[in-house]
Subunit: 208 residues, 2 copies
C-alpha cells in the first residue's frame, strides 16, 4: 500500500489492469472487469505469475529462423533435432496445428509454420503471410527438401493456401503431398482427435 | 533472443505463458493457447502492458480499510471525499456494483463493499464474507451512521444477504432501506441500465 500516491494515481492501477486485459481476444469491458476483480480477490498469485510470464514471453520469444514458429532460440529445438528427416517439410498454419501433428507421432520430418493462411477476402495475400520465407527456406536448405506435406486446414482458406504453395513447390521439382481428407471437410486441425489426424497423415497423397 | 538458454528452458516461456493464462476465469487450455498465440503474433505491446499492469496491480492494490473496496490507498478516494454524507452507508456486493450505483449520480453517501454475498449452499456464511468488518465499520464510525441502504442484487443470495444485514443494523437502531425493485427480479445490478438503477435508488424503501 503506497500512501504517497496522489488520488489520481490511486485508481490508475485497477483501471489500467482492466484496460490492459482487453488486449486478450474476445475480452470486452465487462469481462475484463470481471477478470480483474477475480484475480485481485481470489488469485493474486496467479495474477503475479501471469504478469511475469507475459513479460518473459514478450522479451524472449521470437520466431525460429528456420521454421517460423515461436521460439526463444534462433533455431528451435524441433529444427535442430538431428533425429528428424530434413528432406521432408510439413507446412501448417499455426503452432497449435504443429502440436496436433506432433501428437500423432506419425511424422518425423521438419516443419514450416505459416502463422496464417491466404485469405484474399481479408486482404491476406502471399505477401501478407510472407510466403517468401517459405520459398527461401526451401531454396536455401542445406539438405534438399524432397517432399512438402501440406497440412493446412480443410477450410476454403486452408485449401487455397495448400493449392498456392503446391504450385510454388511443383515448379521447383519438389514432390507435394496433402494430408488425407480424414479430417472432416470444413474442419480445423486443432479440433480433430489425434487418431483421425494420424490416419490423415499416413494416407497423405501426392499432389500431381 | 537468448541463445544461451538450454533447450529445456527454450520452450518454457511459451508453455508458462499458456499455463498462466488459465488463471483467468473461464479460460481453458484451448483458449489460453489461442490467447498466447494471438498476443505473440499480433499484439506484443498489449501483452507487455498487460504483464506490467498485472504486476503493478498485485503489488499496489489492497482493500480500503473503511469501505473494503480495492484501493491503492489505505482510505480510498471515495471514503476520503468530504463532500459525501458520512451518515448514510450503501452496502453493495462488488466494486462493479458500486460503480453502477455511482453512475446513477443519485447517491452521495458512503459505501461498504462486501466483496461477496451470503451463499449457505456454497458454504459462504457471515464469517466467510467477513460481515464483522461491516459491523465494525458501523460501530466505530466517527460520525454515526443513520441509514444503511441495502443495494445487494435481487438474486436469492443477494436478498438473503440484505435481510441478514438488515437485522444486524436494526438491533443497532440504524434505519435500514432497500433499493426499490425497479431492478428486475433475479437481475444483477451490473447488467441494469443506469436510469433503472437511478429510479431504484430514489424509490428505496425503509425496511421495517
Ligand atoms: Zn524451427
Ligand atoms: Zn473506501
Amino acid at each position: 500500500m503506497s500512501e504517497n500516491r496522489s488520488p489520481d494515481q490511486a485508481q490508475d492501477a485497477l483501471q489500467r489492469m482492466v484496460q490492459a486485459l482487453r488486449a486478450l481476444p474476445g475480452v470486452g469491458p465487462k469481462s475484463a472487469q470481471r477478470m480483474a476483480f477475480h484475480l485481485l480477490q481470489h488469485d493474486r498469485n496467479g495474477a503475479a505469475v501471469l504478469g511475469q510470464s507475459l513479460l518473459d514471453a514478450v522479451n524472449h520469444i521470437q520466431h525460429c529462423s528456420s521454421c517460423n514458429t515461436f521460439s526463444e532460440l534462433n533455431i528451435c529445438t524441433t529444427c535442430s533435432d538431428d533425429r528428424r528427416d530434413p528432406s521432408i517439410l510439413c507446412v501448417v498454419e499455426t503452432p497449435a496445428d504443429q502440436l496436433m501433428v506432433e501428437q500423432t507421432l506419425t511424422y518425423k520430418g521438419l516443419y514450416f509454420v505459416l502463422m496464417g493462411r491466404l485469405s484474399p477476402l481479408d486482404g491476406l495475400g502471399p505477401n501478407e503471410i510472407h510466403l517468401d520465407r517459405l520459398i527461401e527456406r526451401v531454396e536455401k536448405s542445406p539438405i534438399p527438401v524432397k517432399e512438402v506435406v501440406l497440412a493446412t486446414n480443410f477450410t476454403s482458406e486452408g485449401e487455397a493456401t495448400a493449392h498456392y504453395i503446391g504450385e510454388i513447390m511443383k515448379v521447383r521439382d519438389i514432390k507435394v503431398s496433402r494430408i488425407a481428407r480424414g479430417v472432416p471437410v470444413g474442419g480445423e486441425l486443432e479440433y480433430v482427435d489425434a487418431s483421425t489426424l494420424a490416419r490423415a497423415m499416413m494416407d497423405r497423397r501426392s499432389v500431381s
